[in-house]
């Protein structure tokens, strides 16, 4: 039995979405693991860049923040925020952004601002950072989530970053020319969005996870009719993740004792 952690499974599942030639916007945590895995395993001609302005760093060590010195080393160019955002939305480029969030709704809109009332929040989070911006400008957004009912909600406490907004053509009607939510990768599976309604559906469930578990962990009704079991990570993929992408094991985390729940 091959053993792997949630973060490793999520990084590989998300990494498979990246194609050669994609310009990948990475954040921290699983996001940087996924972006680096994508480049080293699935799409060697993809380019990783950061909102802080580092373009195509060598990433010999995993960055702990998007301003980590490790995003400035071995780059093709070190610039700044304005330059980075000129890349995210550039009409010539296909840009894919990795984000995380505290809450998500069925149209892939994200909350990274607060739980409860905005002015007197029960829990305050970091805020938009560049998330609202990349959700506006990128060709597609892949979001990492812990799959819990309180996080997959009918209504966000605060809509920080726009996905498919209210579904259908509503994103375009806002005046946003491209982009939208491409996929959501959780510790249980991969969710995608219907072509026309833009509603979330279950595309893949991870090995050892039941569809019922995913339905129970989602705070709104979800279509599971197209769900298939996800590929198990191969020993080769895991080896690259552990030995090349995150040799210090800062994000991969310890391998779980039991196979995935």
């Amino acid at each position: 039995m091959i053993r792997y952690s949630d973060n490793e499974m999520m990084a590989l599942a998300a990494g498979r979405f990246i194609k050669d030639g994609d310009i990948v916007f990475a954040g921290t945590g699983v996001s940087i693991l996924a972006a680096t895995a994508a480049k080293r395993i699935f799409a060697p001609k993809a380019v990783i860049f950061f909102e802080t302005g580092g373009i195509d760093p060598s990433l010999d060590e995993i960055p702990m923040a998007v301003a980590d010195l490790r995003v400035m080393a071995g780059t093709s160019l070190n610039s700044g925020l304005i330059e980075a955002f000129s890349i995210v939305g550039h009409r010539k480029l296909h840009t894919v952004a990795f984000l995380g969030a505290a809450q998500i709704d069925r149209y892939g809109n994200l909350n990274t601002t607060c739980i409860g009332d905005y002015f007197r929040p029960k829990t305050r989070f970091s805020g938009s950072g560049g998330a609202c911006d990349v959700a506006t400008f990128a060709s597609g957004v892949i979001t990492f989530m812990q799959h819990e009912k309180r996080r997959f909600v009918e209504k966000l406490d605060y809509l920080t970053s726009v996905g498919w907004y209210e579904g259908g053509d509503s994103r375009k009607e806002l005046g946003l020319r491209r982009g939208g939510a491409l996929a959501v990768v959780t510790n249980l599976g991969v969710l995608r969005f219907h072509e026309e309604t833009k509603e979330m559906y279950l595309a893949e469930y991870f090995p050892g996870v039941t569809i019922e578990k995913i339905v129970e962990s989602t705070g709104f009704p979800i279509d599971t009719s197209m769900a298939v079991e996800a590929e198990t990570p191969t020993p080769g993929e895991l080896q690259i993740l552990r030995e090349e992408v995150d040799p210090q094991r800062l994000i991969c985390q310890a391998v779980l004792e039991t196979p995935q729940k």
């Binding site: 302005g53 998007v66 301003a67 980590d68 010195l69 829990t123 560049g130 005046g175």
Partner: protein, 325 residues
């Protein structure tokens, strides 16, 4: 001081730079981003001088923001992001201050804040973008109406308009320019002619400096004109934007400075732990800020062992193999 005649009138200590330029109630911008190149030495001096009611304007900030908010120096905040990466996904004292309604705050995004600094630098009153359409950033105004009448505070958070160059429906968001009273940056080098050189990523530092009325630069070192003018493509700001220059080696600790030192994981973890508890946080400030007599004393407390551990490999730019857990 005659060693540097061209900048003699601008070269000063931390105490003088803060007492001359950082006043109660001023609008302040700080350079750097989350755990890199925060002007920490100046932030600590602001805390020591007990400057109050600062209106802080940030894109994504971390350690300096959190110390200033935690020490009670900040009354009002415009911000995109408060976090220290993996060392504090949300800055702890920032989070507490908002949850306890201790400060007035208004949220924007990184790109929006960067554009607002750019607009200030370009001397234009506002700047359009697509970012924010559909977001609650454009639905919640943070500041009460009376604040909006103050100088340096925009009369409204944003406006929307139809693209005047398009026949089709095409809406844009207009963001008000920012012109802070003071911007404080930490740079690697200042030339003895006053030219500033930032190595690695510049974030929005250059826009923040050009947008401000006054600029304080702390630096790792002061270097000869012959060095800084040999490769001027590498330079970030010409001398006439700079009002105060303070040489403070390791002045961004515990945040990182490309080519000089990495962030200090041990200190960032210690800070997060102490910031979580009000009593411990007071102890932190007493020990690391109020109780420190000089910058040399501060670095002595950090200790030679850690100074050497975080010292960057000058070729690679960071400290490879540093224990970052």
């Amino acid at each position: 001081m005659n060693r540097y005649p061209e900048i003699a009138d601008r070269l000063m200590g931390l105490d003088e730079a803060v007492s001359r330029f950082v006043k109660n109630g001023c609008q302040l911008a700080i350079g750097g981003f989350t755990i890199t190149r925060n002007p920490m030495a100046v932030a600590y001096e602001i805390v020591r001088q007990r400057v109050k009611d600062i209106h802080l304007v940030c894109h994504s900030h971390g350690q300096a923001l959190d110390v200033l908010v935690g020490a009670g120096c900040v009354g009002r905040l415009e911000i995109a992001y408060g976090g220290n990466g993996r060392y504090a996904p949300t800055c702890v004292r920032f989070k507490k201050a908002i949850q306890r309604s201790e400060i007035q705050f208004e949220d924007y995004s990184n790109y929006q804040m960067s554009l607002r600094f750019l607009a200030g630098a370009l001397s234009i009153p506002f700047i359009p973008t697509k970012s924010g359409l559909g977001s609650d950033l454009m639905n919640y105004e943070g500041f009460p109406a009376e604040v909006r009448k103050e100088e340096k505070v925009a009369s409204r958070k944003y406006a929307k308009m139809a693209n005047p160059f398009s026949e089709d429906w095409d809406e844009v968001v207009l963001l008000p320019a920012l012109t802070p009273d003071v911007t404080i940056l930490h740079a690697q080098y200042v030339g003895d002619d006053g030219t500033v050189r930032i190595k690695g990523l510049t974030f929005a530092d250059i826009e923040q400096a050009k947008a401000a009325d006054r600029v304080i630069i702390t630096c790792e070192d002061i270097v000869p004109r012959s060095f800084i003018r040999t490769d001027p493509d590498q330079n970030s700001l010409p001398p006439f934007f700079v009002d105060a220059i303070v040489k403070v080696p390791y002045g961004a600790h515990p945040t990182a400075c490309y080519g000089f030192y990495d962030y200090d994981p041990k200190h960032l973890n210690l800070y997060r732990k102490m910031a979580e508890d009000d009593t411990l946080f007071t102890e932190y400030l007493d020990e690391w800020v109020y109780g420190v007599g000089s910058w040399e004393d501060y670095l002595t407390k950090v200790g030679m062992e850690m100074i050497l551990k975080i010292k960057a490999n000058p070729v690679i730019g960071y400290a490879p193999g540093l224990d970052r857990k």
